[in-house]
């Protein structure tokens, strides 16, 4: 068990790295989906650029949320300076705390991109309906926000545990 304790930090860092990696990957794909749809719209009507850009960027936030979780975990486990004395159990808990962000971040970004692409289609046909079109992808984001919230609370909660 003593030997295992050396690996606590590994698990914790793995969780943090995945939190940046997986939602980041998904956001990259999601934003590119929006970009492809948007490029077609701009070819028809360049004046819609601003609106389409907003819709394209909406599913990009999951990557940023992932970054936040990674950064908070880094600072809690002492990777950014400080001690990194973390037991195996604690490392595993950090890993678990990152899971909501890793998984929900991935799936919600792709789903949100689908809604974004559909909304870009709406704006292409009816630019004045932008306000409503923007809300549909924003609804999907709620779940990414809930995931980031739980991960934040869990990561900062684990730090307080004495194990």
């Amino acid at each position: 068990m003593e030997a295992l304790n050396n690996y606590g930090i590994v698990l914790a860092l793995l969780g943090a790295a995945l939190a940046a990696l997986v939602p980041g990957m998904a956001s990259a794909k999601a934003v590119s989906m929006g970009g492809i749809a948007g490029a077609g719209v701009i070819a028809e009507d360049p004046s819609l650029f601003g609106k389409v850009l907003i819709l394209q960027l909406l599913p990009g936030t999951q990557g940023i949320y992932g970054l936040i979780i990674a950064f908070i975990t880094f600072s809690q486990i002492g990777v950014l300076g400080g001690s990194s004395d973390i037991s195996f159990v604690k490392g595993a808990l950090y890993f678990a705390a990152c899971l909501p962000m890793i998984i929900v971040g991935y799936t919600s970004a792709i789903r949100q991109a689908n809604a974004s692409v559909a909304s870009i289609g709406t704006v292409a046909k009816k630019p004045d309906q932008f306000g409503k079109a923007m809300i549909f992808p924003a609804m999907v984001e709620t779940y990414a926000i809930l995931a980031v919230l739980i991960s934040i609370l869990a990561v900062s909660g684990v730090t307080g545990l004495n194990i």
Partner: protein, 676 residues
């Protein structure tokens, strides 16, 4: 916070004044024309579609000529020109354009023609250059390319693939002497040859040449290649000089750009006028304008019209089933958000204008999500600069947008100070890295650091959410009071208020919840008991009354139970405000990361330079991304959570008959509507 009361308006006037009356109304821009009367034997609508078509054509000619002109002579536009709005013109300028109208249309047509001439000549130059390329290898041939031979001889002019020497060709044709072979030119790809033989041998010589893949030149002319080349060059020169002349003429029209713009605007205005004329009821001598007008504008327009024309002017209350157009009246603080309400939906029949109440929350929520004093300052300062610099000419929609972001920026500064975020933690980082300050933080937060106490921030976010939702519910009550449904207020608003508030009290009394939230609440047992009883009573009330539209008592209770289940909706609504925490943290943490990265490079002589570059780029990106997030999610909280409690929309915005031009506006008519 209000909508202006509207009236139906009818103007009965003589046809001879039609043009003047319509132009006056158009310049005032206070009447929305709608056809509300039926056609009959005397009064009917005239067909304006022919005129409208020709106007539309002229508008597109003007727009096209301007586009063309811009590709030849770039217009000097500063980056901020979008803010400066349309130029002002006097009525006299407008009227005097009539004289210039025809020549300007001709100019626009000429510009389009010139661009065609230039394009055609460019295509010619291209074609001629290809011909020159083909002819160049033949330039040393002193007879025409279509030379077929003399009485006794036959000539073959053409090319053989690959380089050939004279000897090699003579060798192939040795059997058919006498003959003469000339090599005109020879390159790696091909050899241009001239073969002259006697008529007896011509078929056989041709056969051998064909065996060597002899091909005739793609051009044929009765002039020698050198002469032909000269001719082609002359033609190219001619085409080029045509292009120069046409381009020069085109460039000379750059001075008339403003006239072309005016033509586009002028006909846009006329088009709008004819659109209105098409909807008017007219008899032989009389025409009738019908529509809507805001009550406050009636007096002025009535005086102006009746003093200069013979007409009858009548206004009445709108009928019950009228789709009365919406015209807002809000103060400068809330006005910028009318557009946000419109993009959800303007207030429907009998609804109130939610803009003022919304504006308070809108700015506050935006600021809370961005929550960085530095970013807020940048946004507010940039908007204020635009507003001051262009304060005389800026158009209303642009002005409102800038004002909205300015207020959002101010709110952001406020929350940034509360949570001590100035470009992340720039003061601390700069102090520590460059000046060795150890007494951190330099500026402590007025309240607390959200990163250090996320649970407290979460509680605060949800508390704001509860206030926001209850305000929405109160708006519903206010609306019901206006429609005199007093019992409905008790059923749909008061019961819910009691239930939600007592629910909050009960939750706060449980140790588990207070532990999670990390707050200390000491409630006496009496208060908790009262809350429990109140919750029960109000829940019962909701079950009994919220299904009241059904007569069947059984169905009614079921519907009431379902309405009570709506409490779960409130729960998810309140949780939704946790995005205030998530987005606020996102701004702060990314800002901190940027500062840390910058601090890593800060050593050495060039350190401060790298530091500055990283800080500027990093924070610019962070500001962009998070301002976008704050904007989108503020809208979401307003549209979904807040409006969901009381607002339906479905109205139509007041669209007055006015001047919706692109480049110019008429000086006295900028009150309403004439803005786009």
């Amino acid at each position: 916070m209000a909508l202006l009361p509207m009236q139906r308006i009818y103007i009965y006037a003589l046809k001879k004044d039609r043009k003047k009356i319509l132009e006056l109304l158009q310049r005032r821009g206070v009447v929305e024309v709608r056809s509300m009367l039926k056609e009959d034997k005397v009064f009917n609508k005239s067909d304006a579609s022919v005129v409208m078509q020709s106007l539309e054509k002229n508008i597109s000619i003007a727009a096209e000529s301007l586009d063309i002109l811009n590709t030849y002579v770039k217009e000097n536009k500063s980056m901020l020109s979008a803010l400066s709005g349309r130029q002002e013109l006097t009525v006299e300028d407008y009227d005097s354009f009539k004289v210039k109208y025809k020549p300007v249309v001709d100019k626009a047509k000429r510009i389009i023609e010139l661009s065609k001439i230039i394009a055609e000549n460019k295509a010619d130059v291209f074609r001629l250059q290809t011909q020159i390329e083909i002819l160049t290898p033949w330039v040393n041939l002193d007879i025409p390319l279509n030379f077929k031979g003399t009485k006794q001889t036959t000539g073959f002019i053409g090319t053989l693939p690959k380089p050939w020497t004279l000897e090699e060709i003579y060798e192939k044709l040795a059997d058919y002497m006498p003959l003469d072979v000339d090599i005109i030119s020879s390159t790696k790809e091909q050899t241009c040859v001239f073969v002259l033989c006697t008529n007896d041998n011509k078929d056989k010589v041709y056969e051998i040449l064909r065996g060597l893949e002899f091909t005739l030149p793609p051009l044929s002319s009765d002039k020698s290649p050198a002469e032909q080349l000269d001719l082609l060059k002359q033609q190219i020169d001619m085409a080029n000089s045509n292009i120069v002349v046409a381009t020069e003429e085109m460039e000379s029209y750059a001075m008339d750009r403003n006239e072309l713009k005016f033509l586009q605007d002028y006909d846009t205005m006329r088009l709008e006028k004819y659109e209105v004329i098409g909807t008017l009821l007219q008899s032989k001598n009389v025409f009738i304008i019908s529509g809507f007008i805001a009550e406050k504008d009636i007096k002025a327009i009535e005086e102006e019209l009746t003093s200069s024309f013979d007409l009858a002017f009548e206004t009445t209350e709108p009928r019950k089933r009228d789709d009365v157009p919406i015209l807002y009246k809000n103060n400068g603080f809330s006005e910028p958000l009318e557009g946000t309400v419109n993009s959800y939906s303007p207030p429907g029949r009998g609804e109130m204008d939610p803009t003022t109440v919304m504006s308070l929350f809108y700015y506050a929520l935006f600021g809370l999500m961005l929550s960085d004093a530095g970013y807020g300052f940048i946004i507010a300062a940039a908007c204020a600069f635009g507003l001051i610099k262009f304060k005389n000419t800026i158009e209303k929609p642009m002005k409102n947008t800038l004002k909205m972001y300015m207020f959002c920026g101010i709110a952001t500064i406020f929350w940034g100070i509360i949570f001590s975020s100035y470009f992340g933690d720039i003061f601390d980082v700069v102090g520590k890295t460059f000046f060795g300050v150890t007494d951190l933080p330099i500026i402590p937060p007025v309240w607390f650091y959200p990163v250090e106490k996320p649970m407290l921030m979460l509680t605060f976010s949800m508390a704001i959410g509860i206030v926001h939702l209850l305000t929405g519910l109160a708006m519903k009550g206010y609306q019901m009071a206006k429609q005199k449904e007093y019992m409905g207020i008790i059923y749909d608003v008061v019961f819910w208020y009691v239930l939600l508030l007592s629910g909050v009290v009960i939750l706060l009394s449980s140790e588990m919840v207070t532990n999670i939230l990390g707050i200390n609440v000491n409630l006496s047992d009496v208060v908790i008991d009262i809350a429990k009883i109140a919750a029960l009573v109000s829940a019962l009330g909701i079950i009994l009354t919220n299904g009241r539209e059904s007569k069947n008592p059984f169905k009614r209770i079921l519907k009431g139970l379902y309405a009570l289940y709506g409490i779960s909706g409130y729960l998810s609504d309140i949780l939704s405000y946790s995005r205030l925490l998530a987005l606020g943290l996102a701004t702060g943490i990314i800002g901190t990361v940027v500062n840390q990265m910058a601090a890593m490079t800060a050593g050495g002589a060039l350190g401060p330079i790298f530091f500055t570059i990283i800080v500027i780029i990093g924070h610019a990106l962070n500001l962009m991304i998070n301002a976008l997030g704050a904007y989108v999610h503020t809208n979401r909280l307003q549209y979904v959570e807040f409006f969901g409690k009381f607002y339906e929309g479905g109205g139509k915005v007041f669209k007055p008959f006015g001047i919706n031009t692109k480049y110019y506006r008429i000086k006295e008519s900028t009150k309403y509507g004439s803005i786009k």
